[in-house]
């Protein structure tokens, strides 16, 4: 197999997870894509070494680079308000599924906006973990390997994040309930 094909396989295996990690960190899809590109540019430079590693090893290498890049991201990170605006902007227009009634699509879009706003307000560790699970489709063990924390910690963060989101959606579904 030629080297570009091997690298493409590595890229396709990990790009969603790496992008989700940065989306959780920086809050918007395009900035996350820029960071993801930086990570894979380095991977391309070290492709001879990387393509010989097992998938876990590749993920470990990629996320070590990603976490180091995040140090730079943190220095230039937007304010919490900026992140929230970016997330709300990203979720401003989710596309309605084909064949779904307009009213259902509107409700889905509104709920997605509530979810986006609640996620933007989460503590960063919970936000990154939740984004990697929801957008990156990684399980707790994979997220733990990527972030360098035990899987139990990942599950705890996910639990806290989901509880916060459930409360936010509960307020949206029944505003009076939150006032009682």
């Amino acid at each position: 197999m030629d080297r570009e094909a091997e690298f493409r396989r590595l890229y396709e295996a990990h790009r969603v997870a790496v992008h989700a990690y940065f989306a959780g960190r920086v809050g918007d899809r395009q900035s996350a894509a820029d960071r993801m590109q930086e990570v894979f540019q380095r991977a391309w430079q070290h492709r001879d070494k990387l393509t010989g590693l097992p998938e876990d090893g590749q993920r470990g290498w990629l996320f070590t680079v990603a976490r180091n890049l995040s140090v730079d991201v943190a220095r230039h990170q937007r304010t919490a308000d900026g992140t929230q605006r970016a997330l709300e902007h990203e979720s401003a227009g989710p596309q309605a599924p084909v064949g779904v009634p307009a009213s259902t699509a509107v409700i889905a879009a509104e709920r997605a906006a509530v979810v986006a706003a609640a996620i933007a307000r989460l503590p960063e560790q919970q936000r990154v973990t939740l984004t990697m699970a929801a957008a990156g489709k990684l399980n707790s063990a994979e997220i733990g390997t990527a972030l360098g924390v035990p899987a139990g910690t990942v599950r705890y963060r996910l639990s806290l994040a989901r509880r916060t989101l459930a409360e936010a959606l509960g307020d949206y579904d029944d505003p009076k309930e939150g006032e009682q």
């Binding site: 570009e4 690298f7 992008h19 894509a33 993801m36 989710p94 409700i107 889905a108 996620i119």
Partner: protein, 86 residues
Amino acid sequence: MNLDDDLATWAATVRLPDADAAAIFQRIVAAPPAAVTGAAVAPVAAPPAPAASSAAPQLDPAWWRGFTAGFTSRMVASTAPVRLAA
């Protein structure tokens, strides 16, 4: 809708479209090595650069951070007020 459905809807807005991911891949593999490593420019389909080239020093951000931290420490230390002998 339940929370998982809402999260899935939100995740779809965050996830990078496949077309964008493909464009990024093409940019990465088409970029000349000289842009980052200082090595000689090679065509995309060329054989990999020799080991000596890939091991050449690079402008690694981690190295720069270490250098900057050390330099700053030395600067601060060298400009600290000197206690004069009584």
